[in-house]
Subunit: 504 residues, 2 copies
């Protein structure tokens, strides 16, 4: 029952990074292998939903309805002793009464009822259970005891748990959406970003995933992490063919040593982007009073992430936005940036952001400058400034008219590794036509932003760009920061591969 209570969360097996300094590292042998369970969690063939089946804005009815609305094709078993059918599905009085072992049990029943539900799930030989219910370790000592109890029952019975205090998971490719909150849309876009978090801020109930055409491979809210955690998801996602980039929000890393070891295995294959709150003493105190993790460890996190090739971002917006460029674009070979701007002033600001983040302004080749000048003399420089020519383009062939030749010239230039492109709103309605060939070619890391006097119009254009595989950002700063992360990952990947080569 949440969107969400992390502040009061307590990880019953909390192992903070302070352990890195030698104090009782959790050894690998303590962990049960979970890849099969995580696969069932994210690709269940059958799901039992245990909770209120009253038509409301929250509960078992909503989860069941979400599964149907998002097109989940597996078997759904609503569980409730007071109903015979709901949403044309047969209702079973308890998990024990389901005629087959299910892959996944989802429950949002009140905390005191959960141990019985877990025991029933063990009896059913279910593979994994999502405990959406709150009132456990995050609440108080009674809750902690209850959490330990369900953990014990599950472990003894070979059942794996996600949560408690989670909104669960999503897998757009199969219409899997376990959130117990009503969602205002009924379609998620399948894509390359795996998004994991220790907060219900993620998930379709709270993110405009459809409106922004945001492509998700898998989504997972860890909740209190009484069992499955970031290590288990890394283990699974590194081999998940749909996942191109892994983005994680982590309040507590349960086993720092092991996390770094896993990350080092994953990073040469896929980028790992992490948001780790608790940068300041005040927020550390806020978390520490509830999670038992020690204050003062942020510097340790910072350097540990760097060692492991994990890229740390500064805020939640970046955690969501930055992975898009990594999920859809080729990796840049260098840091040389071409900028397309609709204003000289914006061009200067773009250079500021670029050089702050380690990108350099590409020196366009003489051939490129000639080709640009052939489109319009005022275009022959980097930043390529559409501004001065706008009135002329409007008269000549429309604002879209200079784009195809201009973009081709830039993409053909061997001095260009990546492209940050502003798109004026006059190109509205022609995105696929004008930029489709460029998106198909997919040779240089590109990030786009739309500027204009209407939010609705910009959002429509962003969707059109995302639909052809070009990632969009709210402004030039965000686009360029994302490109700089792609450059950084490209270097990290090369370093890790070189280091591996040396070890051989």
């Amino acid at each position: 029952m949440k969107v969400t209570t992390n502040l009061r969360r307590e990880s019953t097996r909390s192992h903070a990074f302070v352990r890195l300094s030698g104090d009782e590292p959790m050894t690998k042998s303590l962990r049960r292998p979970a890849s099969d369970a995580v696969d069932r969690l994210l690709n269940p063939k059958s799901i039992a939903v245990v909770g209120s089946l009253r038509e409301a804005r929250f509960g078992g009815y909503v989860t069941t309805n979400n599964l149907l609305r998002f097109g989940y094709k597996g078997k759904i078993y609503p569980i409730n002793p007071q109903y015979d059918t709901v949403l044309n599905l047969k209702v079973y009085p308890s998990v024990k009464d389901i005629p087959e072992p299910v892959d996944l049990v989802v429950t949002m029943a009140g905390a005191p009822a959960v141990p019985k539900i877990i025991a029933d799930s063990v009896h059913n030989k279910a593979k994994v259970a999502i405990i959406i219910s709150d009132g456990f370790g995050e609440r108080n000592e009674d809750g902690s005891r209850l959490q330990q109890e369900i953990d014990r029952i599950a472990e003894a019975g070979g059942l794996r748990l996600l949560g408690p205090n989670t909104i669960g998971v999503a897998n757009p490719a199969i219409g899997l959406v376990t959130t117990p909150y009503r969602v205002s849309y009924d379609k998620m876009i399948a894509g390359g970003v795996a998004l994991c978090a220790q907060t219900g801020l993620i998930g379709p109930q709270n993110m405009p995933l459809e409106e922004t055409h945001y492509g998700i491979s898998k989504m997972c809210d860890f909740g209190n992490k009484c069992d499955l955690d970031e290590i288990d998801l890394l283990d699974y996602l590194v081999n998940d063919p749909e996942t191109k980039v892994i983005a994680m929000h982590l309040e507590v890393v349960r086993d720092g040593q092991l996390f770094l070891q896993k990350a080092r295995e994953v990073v040469p294959k896929k980028p790992v982007i992490v948001l780790k709150p608790g940068r300041t003493r005040e927020s550390q105190r806020a978390m520490a009073s509830h999670t038992g993790s020690l204050a003062g460890e942020d510097v340790i996190y910072d350097s540990a992430f760097k060692q492991a090739g994990v890229i740390r971002v500064d805020n939640f917006r970046e955690l969501i936005e930055i992975p898009k460029v990594l999920a859809t674009q080729p990796l840049p070979r260098g840091n040389r940036l071409a900028i397309v701007t609709i204003s000289g002033g914006a061009g200067v600001m773009a250079i500021d952001i670029a050089s702050t983040h380690g990108l350099s302004l590409a020196k366009l080749s003489a051939g490129t400058l000639e080709k640009l000048a052939a489109v319009s003399p005022v275009l022959a420089s980097n930043p390529v400034d559409l501004g001065p020519g706008l009135p002329a383009y409007q008269v000549a062939g429309g604002i879209a008219s200079p784009f195809p030749a201009m973009i081709e010239a830039i993409l053909d230039d061997k001095n260009v590794d990546c492209l940050a492109m502003a798109c004026p709103w006059g190109v509205r309605g022609k995105i696929a036509e004008v930029f489709g060939p460029m998106a198909k070619r997919n040779t240089k890391t590109t990030a786009v932003w739309v500027a204009g006097p209407s939010l609705a119009m910009a959002e429509e254009m962003n969707r059109d760009f995302e639909a052809i595989g070009l990632p969009t950002y709210p402004d030039g700063d965000a686009a360029i920061k994302a490109l700089s992360v792609a450059v950084r990952y490209s270097r990290i990947k090369a370093q890790f591969s070189a280091a591996k080569g040396q070890v051989r």
Copy 2:
């Protein structure tokens, strides 16, 4: 003719901050007093528009039409020898033929035609001219000479100039909009933010001012600054009763010494927020090659701004967003922040941002905690977390139900100076009803953000908040950064007042 070419702009009288170190400061006596001209620029009783009157997306027809659409009530004189009437207005062949002296001449005629138009404007005894046309100092040496020529003609004739290479000005209170680009809406909101820039990124042709209910007092694009500049606008805006906060984007400060002196006069009365690009060597080079300003001066700008009490922001988004809280909210008495969050995880992130920017988490008084607990036991802490109770509120009285008593308790607490408030999308449609009393009370500096699964819905709610005078931000980070600037300005104002007291 622009959106915009600052990269190639050249300020013919460029005086960079390097002058601060003693080298030939521009003395005050070289400047002609401009406050009357700036008043005519921003409150003209009559306007001549010189440019193409063909119905198009750019030009004199568009400017004339914009003035009519935005409800400008003064006299409009379209100028063109080829037309008799346009948009039901009598057209005059030249500015010389206008039967009365006009306050303002606006021209977007081709650069070579501009000297004649300026001479005609002098003949007309016009007060001020906006030269939208480009192809002057920002283009090449010929353009520089042309710019010097018009400057000479104007100065000799007592005419003041804005530009060239500008989109001009706006004053929503009187429907004044000089942009030569078609605007997709026809209403600007009058408010407390004066927005000045050396770029056409500002202005209704490029900003969703109506959709975001953004309240503007005055807007001014300086362009090449051949005459009127930031000093003249500061002089005017400090006494403009509509202006509560002054936000400026400045590529080049023409007279550093004088700017600092002016800023020191303004800052005790109104906050001055500045975006000064050119933080890095690469962007400095990009500007330097076209403006003649010297590289390496960013540190000097930084410390000079600090001395003068000018608050420097990091990017264009902040330049636009941060002033909203200063334009609408009371100044905070201290730095103690209350946070309303819909998620514990978001609460931790909010504390991170707050403490990074010098805010401290308010310790709610025992009385406040009691009052919050009376609404719901899970609310009794700071951050005040709506998350755990959401399902219960949905059942009880709707998601809006806890807000009135909760907000009142927080605002009554003497330990709270400012409030960062997340609003869940379930409160949609009830903003005025639920938050109207709080907005009316207007006792504590407040910034709001809306979280939810739909952009359109969030935008609608943001508009509803802005309409009752509560400033909205895209996320908690932006809201808290804005509050931190309000705290900073509050301190600066107190320091400047104390220093003034000592001098007496």
